[in-house]
Every structure is written in structure tokens, then in C-alpha cells.
Symmetry: C2
DNA sequence: CGAGCGTTTGAGCGGTCTCAACTAGCGTGG
DNA sequence: CCACGCTAGTTGAGACCGCTCAAACGCTCG
């Protein structure tokens, strides 16, 4: 399957940006997670709400979470989805800035933040790993703003599908058959679209033979190359990059005026 | 003007999310920055390009940078603007993922990444501070996706203006008179809009008496309350939170200006 | 089976983009 | 000094895409 490789751009980002690495970070310093408690959540049950004191750092063992806020105008914004292996609750702010809710039955490991921080301060390596994990998430978030700002339903959704696929690959699952733990409206609120538009775009992809859908929650990727083409127009990556190392004046982008 | 305080939402986020704190972090552990070299850039000169080896961590001393990528379709995406005090080049990836270009005459402090990392591994506190800085930036990026996903020019621009204003406040500058180091198209590419729409929206704000513009690069906020109303519809913040342990005190939220 | 919810599809509207023309500011050179 | 060119910024007229409103469909569970 020659072309059944994932898009190079996404892959490149993946190596550093995807949450898989955060997982890896944490496995490296698994000591923190050994003694922590486990919490089981029912579907739709909240882990915490925005404004709650941020007392724990969580790691998703199984299931999935959505991180979201609701706007004053009632619109909901889904910041991210957390799948198995993801960390939630990083940072040193004392209150959560968003809500976290289980999509299906979900299990979490919970580590008290105080112990977490104490451990970090005594262990520079662990702290460094976490710093790394945080910057990886940061890069992901920054690039997602680009995808969203594209304002193009097809590009956004293609990028979203590829991200899920990549995630599957990193977990050693089939990257071409993707269960969707989240609803259409979750996806819509995540991409800044509406449920209807997400639906229509899924349908477009299906009719064009890019994907197949079973029971609307099981996605199969048929033509990943064309998905890649779509997504690459959204996920930016600079072609000029190798032109020069560090110094000034630049062709079109950089007309210096002394 | 009675309520010349900044929007509480933005303010609350500010305390933790704005880059000012990253600055503060760095001042706390200023040791790293003492011996580092200084680099001066002309307007439009690039600090680095996407794909360049990530050899330094930078701190903006004066001036401003834009972080951007160009998409395969030619569209440009401005990930962020970096003003004085901001850190650039965090993370452990070996190559830069975006371009960094000076908006005007700009001075940077440059610290070799290797030394930086070594120092961090020997100093858990410094590392922890950096972890904090990274998660702050992460939160900012996450919430910006919400602003952008609103797809509403007025809301996005209002939120953008308020963010700049907040930044001014943190730097102890007048938060109601804001120089804009970036062009209209920079703003457009940052918010996922077009130059024309940004212009039109500025004009709308001006005609409604929300702002005043001088020479198009000097912005004055007239009616921050209405700007706040607009922005609050974009910057999500969950109302449910009040219901819980958060009630009452907004600790450091409201440093009102004199 | 029916209730309920999530999903899908359709018709019309509105905001933003596109394309285009025009203005303002500024440095250059005659 | 003004004319000129260049760029950034502004404003206008129509097209397009996603949103809104509405209805039908499909699955799941009692």
C-alpha cells in the first residue's frame, strides 16, 4: 500500500506535536502516576467545570473527554478532545478555565496537583518532560488556529479526520478505520462550523469516495491522498523554509528598506 | 468614563494567560538571560524560517515580531504577534515550525538552546517556570481558537483589540492608546479574515464611536464597554462556573487604571 | 411499537470574500 | 518644489459559502 502513508506534513507535525508524545513523556517518568487514584465516569459526566479549583492532573486511561466552554451567547466551543493517553489539567493556574466532560464511559488517573508540582520541583527531568509535553500541545493548538481560520469546511474537516487517523496510528490502531467518540455537533463546535455543515461535508466526502461511513460513528478512510491534499491547504507549512538559514533580506517576503 | 476597567473575562484570562506572565517568569530566573547575546533586526528581517534548526530561545526586548506560516495555496497564517517581553522558540523540537519576522526595528536576546536546556535540567525551578510559561501560552492559543471559530469579524476584532489593550496595561502603558505595529493584513491573517473586512470593521467601530484611529496605526479606545460586550460573545467563558466554588472574589482580576 | 435523540437533507438568507477602483502617506528623483 | 511610484489603507458591488430554519430519516431503548 504505497500511498497509504499519512500526509507528510501532518506526520512531521505528528512526531513532535501529537499527544502521543505527551503520553510517552509520561511513561518515561511513570513514577508520578503509579500511586494515583483512578476515577470512572459515566457518559456525559463532568470531570470538572470551568472555575473549579484545579486540584488534579488527569490522564485519560480509556474513553474520551471533550474540553469545552460555553459562550455568553450560548454558543459552545469545543477546545479539544482527549483520547486515551492524553493529559488534562496541565498548568499552574489555580482554577480550570474550561469544562471537561466524558463522551462515553471513561476512566481517568488522577494525581493531586500539589504532589505533582512538588515532584516536578524535585525532579528537573520530569519537569522538562512536562515542559516538552506542554509545548507540544501548544504547537498543536497554534496550528489548529490556522486550520480553523481557513474558514473552509472541507479543509477543516479533512484536517480533523487526518488528525484522528494519525492519533490512531500512534496508538498502533488501524489508522484507516476510525471510531468517532464525539457527535457531529461536537466536531462542529470544535471546528467552528455547524452540525449541518459537518454533516454535509461528510456526505460530500462520502460521495466523492474519500471516506465511508458506518452508523455515522465509524469512519473509514478510502482515499487518504485526496484528504491530504485538502488538509494541506489548511495546515500550513512553509515551503520557503529551507531557502536561508537565519539572515535578513528575503525575496518576496522581505523587502528591506534601510 | 466610569467603567474604564478592562473586561473581567479577558482580565481573568490575562492574569494567567497573557504573555506578561511569561515575562515575569523569566525575570524571576533572569540568570539564563544575563549572558546571552543581543540581536538587532531591521523591519521585515526574519529571525528564522520554518524548517530552520531551532538553535536559540529568543526574548523580545523591543519592537515586535510576527510568527506566521504560508500555506500551500499561498494564504498566509499569522500564528501570533510577539511584543516586548515575549519568548519565542520554546519547545524541544529541533526545527522551527513557523517563520518569525520583525515588524519594525526589533531587538532580541538570544540564548543558545543547548545551554538553555542544560540549565533547565539542572534547575527544576527554572524549568518549572518555563513549564508554566508554556502552559500559559497554551491556554492563550486554545482560547484564541474559540475567538477565531466565532467567524464574526466584529467579535474577533474586538477581542483582538482588547487583547492588545490588556497587553499595554500589563506593560504599564496606556491601555487606551494602542500603537499597532502590525498591518491590516497581518491582523486579517491572524484572525482568519481579509484585509478589507478588517478595514471595514475598524471603520464600523469608528463610526459607532467605539474607537478612534489616527494615521491607521494608532488606535484609541473610546468605548471599551461596548467592545467588551462584543468580545465577550466571542471569548468564551463558562457561566456555570459561578455556580460552584468560584463565587465572589476575583482575586487579582481588577487592577483598574488610574 | 413509539419516544427521543442524533443525523441527514433541503431552501433561502446573510456575512464575508473577491475583484476592483480609489485615496492617503511617503520617499525618490527630476 | 512638484511629479511620480509604491505601498498601505479604504470603500464599493456582486458572488459564494456556511448559517438559519425546517423537515424527514435512522438508530436505540424502554
Amino acid at each position: 500500500m504505497t500511498s497509504r502513508t499519512l500526509p507528510c506534513i501532518v506526520q512531521q507535525l505528528s512526531v513532535k506535536m501529537a499527544r502521543g508524545e505527551a503520553t510517552e513523556c509520561c511513561q518515561r517518568c511513570a513514577a508520578e502516576w503509579a500511586p494515583c487514584s483512578v476515577r470512572s465516569l459515566q457518559p456525559r459526566q463532568h470531570v470538572f467545570f470551568a472555575g473549579d479549583p484545579q486540584a488534579y492532573v488527569y490522564k485519560v486511561e480509556s474513553g474520551a473527554l471533550r474540553l469545552y466552554v460555553t459562550m455568553p451567547n450560548g454558543r459552545r466551543g469545543v477546545i479539544d478532545f482527549c483520547l486515551a493517553g492524553d493529559l488534562v489539567g496541565l498548568g499552574t493556574q489555580d482554577k480550570h478555565l474550561f469544562n471537561a466532560q466524558a463522551l462515553g464511559a471513561t476512566q481517568l488517573r488522577c494525581l493531586p496537583k500539589v504532589a505533582f508540582a512538588r515532584h516536578l520541583l524535585q525532579n528537573a527531568q520530569a519537569c522538562f518532560n512536562l515542559y516538552e509535553a506542554a509545548t507540544i500541545q501548544l504547537n498543536r493548538a497554534q496550528f489548529r488556529t490556522l486550520v480553523i481560520s481557513g474558514h473552509d469546511a472541507e479543509k477543516s474537516l479533512a484536517a480533523f479526520i487526518l488528525r484522528l487517523s494519525l492519533r490512531r496510528q500512534q496508538q498502533c490502531d488501524d489508522p484507516f478505520v476510525i471510531p468517532l467518540p464525539m457527535s457531529r455537533s461536537d466536531i462542529a463546535d470544535h471546528l467552528g462550523l455547524t452540525t449541518e455543515t459537518v454533516c454535509r461535508t461528510f456526505t460530500k466526502f462520502r460521495r466523492r469516495g474519500l471516506i465511508r461511513l458506518q452508523r455515522s460513528r465509524l469512519l473509514e478512510i478510502i482515499d487518504i491522498d485526496r484528504l491530504r491534499e485538502l488538509a494541506q491547504e489548511a495546515i500550513g507549512y512553509d515551503k520557503q523554509k529551507r531557502r536561508r538559514s537565519n539572515v535578513g533580506a528575503q525575496p518576496q517576503a522581505c523587502r528591506s528598506r534601510t
